[in-house]
């Protein structure tokens, strides 16, 4: 991966750090050592690429969106297809990588938090493949809106624990995972799902996800003949964004755009835009320092997004840093814009982006029309939308779907 993404004493300028209870200090020392050793061993990255090439279908392709490009009449639109990963999202990259690390560390159990359920499914999948025991913490709210993923996690042999504390979403699942970890760190590794949390997680997750950017840079130059003018990625914790951006960080002419969850609008308080709204401020929680959606006392606010995977109070300290340096521009897309973008992508290209990924599309669609046809943009389709069928069906008020569910329920009652 590009060495530009290395923390100095766990920090990216003022962001990051490792604010962890004393009981976990040794675990983090071990993790830092294991990660460093692995990273310095070229064989490790090779084995990672090899695993992703045989178990998932890396390199994932870049698809030229001919119809969308024509539709908007502006920039040529290219899409990085992380949705084609095994388990349907970029989450697989990070999880499989950490799986290899867990094997090296000789631990036998993994735990993880999950929002959309994508990271939970990916972790449960990795655990099944590597033969690890697995417990997934998932906010009760998310368990409800992402049931299909819960169903598969259980089939995969994972124990799914609904978290009933706090706002019962991603951040609370993370807290619960930490509580499990401080009790079981000896045989357990916490597979954090995004580029957040205490050092070395932001850097480590970015390291594994950087496979996206490495492939994408090579591919786009090959296909489009030049670097893209802008690169778009949705930003929950920041892992798919960092993964793709990392491939273009040193290409100053490429503008990097991170799209946060605008929810019901960044002027309301029902969103998850930590940087793209006026409501975010620097704080320290869940073990690291970054922008959070919090009140003056430092209590975390509830967040909202139609996309469970973006519904999170914090953001990668690396992205907070890149925001300060001005390297990454942050925007927000509202739930409504996102659903419209998703419908358009499905209809025009036959692709079904996850609601999370649709945020990147929504913003790109605002900007592309105003760019010359000679310019090009790259959008990260971080995952596929199949998992969102319940949410999307509701958002579109599909009557047949409603009928179908009612019939199903009656059949079950009978």
């Amino acid at each position: 991966m590009t060495d530009s993404i290395r923390a100095t004493q766990g920090y990216f300028s003022q962001f990051g750090g490792a604010f962890v209870p004393e009981v976990l200090q040794r675990t983090f020392d071990e993790l830092n050592l294991a990660f460093e050793t692995a990273r310095n061993d070229p064989e490790f990255w090779r084995s990672y690429v090899q695993l992703m090439g045989t178990y998932s279908c890396r390199p994932t392709p870049i698809t030229y969106a001919e119809n969308l490009s024509r539709h908007f009449g502006g920039a040529q639109i290219y899409i990085k297809r992380e949705d084609l990963n095994h388990t349907g999202a970029h989450k697989a990259n990070n999880v499989m990588g950490q799986g290899l690390l867990v094997k090296r560390m000789g631990k036998r159990r993994v735990i993880a938090e999950t929002g959309a359920g994508q990271h939970g499914v990916a972790t449960a999948t990795m655990a099944a493949k590597f033969g690890f025991e697995c417990t997934i913490y998932m906010g009760e709210v998310d368990v409800a809106r992402q049931r299909p993923n819960v169903f598969w996690m259980e089939r995969l042999g994972a124990k799914v624990v609904p978290v009933r504390e706090g706002s019962r979403t991603l951040k609370d699942a993370i807290n619960e995972a930490f509580r499990d970890w401080v009790s079981n760190m000896d045989d357990t590794h916490y597979v954090l799902g995004t580029a957040c949390g205490p050092h070395p997680f932001p850097e480590m997750v970015t390291y594994f996800q950087s496979i996206i950017g490495q492939e994408a840079r090579r591919q786009i130059v090959e296909i489009a003949g030049k670097l893209p003018d802008r690169v778009y990625a949705c930003v929950g914790g920041g892992s798919n964004a960092m993964g793709l951006f990392s491939g273009f960080l040193s290409d100053k002419e490429v503008e990097l755009v991170g799209v946060e969850a605008g929810g019901k609008g960044v002027t309301t308080h029902e969103h998850a835009a930590r940087i793209a709204s006026k409501h975010g401020s620097i704080g320290v929680a869940q073990g690291y320092k970054t922008y959070f959606l919090q009140n003056q006392d430092g209590q975390m606010n509830e967040t909202h997004s139609v996309a469970a995977g973006l519904d999170y109070v914090g953001i990668s300290p690396i992205l907070a840093h890149l925001h300060h340096t001005g390297r990454v521009r942050f925007e927000a897309a509202t739930d409504a814009e996102v659903v419209e973008a998703l419908k358009l992508v499905v209809r025009k290209e036959g692709l079904i982006p996850a609601l999370e990924s649709s945020h990147a599309f929504a913003r790109a669609f605002v900007e592309a029309p105003n760019m010359p046809v000679t310019s090009s943009i790259l959008i990260n389709q971080s995952g596929r939308g199949d998992k969102d069928i319940f949410t999307v069906a509701d958002a579109l008020h599909d009557p047949d779907w409603v009928e179908f569910i009612k019939k199903k329920a009656e059949a079950y009652r009978a």
Binding site: F19, P21, E165, V182, G283, G287, M300
Partner: protein
């Protein structure tokens, strides 16, 4: 100066008893009543926890207390008022216990300043290791408050040395892995860990996490200066009522 106070009290009895409340849980009146009961029961030190929405080091009982307190409007300002009120009213030394973001948002320097004005003697910040604490330590030293640090069973002797070098007042030894509120077996393993702790610092040792019964306190007598009772007090309050808290605390050293 916390250490001096502790040494003085130790001349009278050992081990000392440190108790804990979450300010504003289940409400401010009860919090006050709890303090009264604790003082009447001869408690030697009291932790006042300012609630935080993400208390990762706390278990179900205190986690719940944090949330209820916040819902009940336990803002940082009201916590300061409360702390000032009780520390004026009682001679027993009070400490703040909270997570770093609460200090950070107020501005570490001004938070510490306010704490001193409110009459507190020290602070415990479980998610703030010395590596991240330079600003905090400077401010604490400047205003003369003691930063209490934590030892864990997983802490190496070398690291204990390092922590001890940063700690003032006493060292808080968490009796086991895990979060607050689950039970601990007071075993040889614990004694040898406390022996390591003892070897690493001259400061008094406080032992918390899972202290529930008189036997636990008795066990600790030989290994530490302070027994810390946290979640169990809340359990008694919730299950048996405020009236039983005093008797429960007195029973621990009867």
């Amino acid at each position: 100066m916390l250490e001096t106070i502790i040494r003085a009290k130790l001349a009278e009895r050992a081990p000392l008893l440190m108790t804990h409340i979450v300010i504003g849980y289940p409400d401010f009146d009860t919090s006050l009543a709890l303090i009264d009961a604790m003082v009447e029961s001869g408690v030697d030190l009291i932790e006042l926890q300012i609630p935080f929405s993400e208390p990762i080091a706390d278990g179900p009982v205190i986690l719940h207390a944090n949330q209820v307190a916040l819902e009940k409007g336990s803002t940082v300002d009201r916590c300061f008022e409360f702390a000032e009120h009780v520390s004026r009213k009682y001679a027993v030394p009070f400490l703040f216990m909270t997570y770093y973001n609460i200090l950070f948002r107020q501005g570490v320097r001004s938070f510490v300043e306010r704490a001193r004005k409110a009459g507190l003697k020290g602070m415990i910040v479980p998610d703030l290791p010395p590596e991240e604490a330079s600003e905090y330590e400077a401010a604490m030293a400047e205003v003369g408050l003691d930063p209490v640090y934590i030892f864990a069973p997983t802490t190496s002797p070398e690291r204990m040395q390092k922590l001890a070098a940063h700690a003032k007042g006493f060292v808080y030894c968490v009796a086991r892995k895990g979060v607050t509120g689950s039970s601990t077996d007071f075993s040889d393993e614990l004694s040898s860990y406390l022996a390591r702790a003892r070897a690493a610092t001259k400061l008094p040792l406080a032992v918390g996490f899972g202290v529930k019964r008189k036997q636990d306190v008795d066990f600790l007598q030989a290994h530490a200066e302070i027994a810390v009772v946290g979640s169990e007090t809340l359990r008694v309050l919730e299950q048996e009522g405020i009236a039983r808290v005093g008797p429960f605390l007195r029973g621990l050293r009867a």
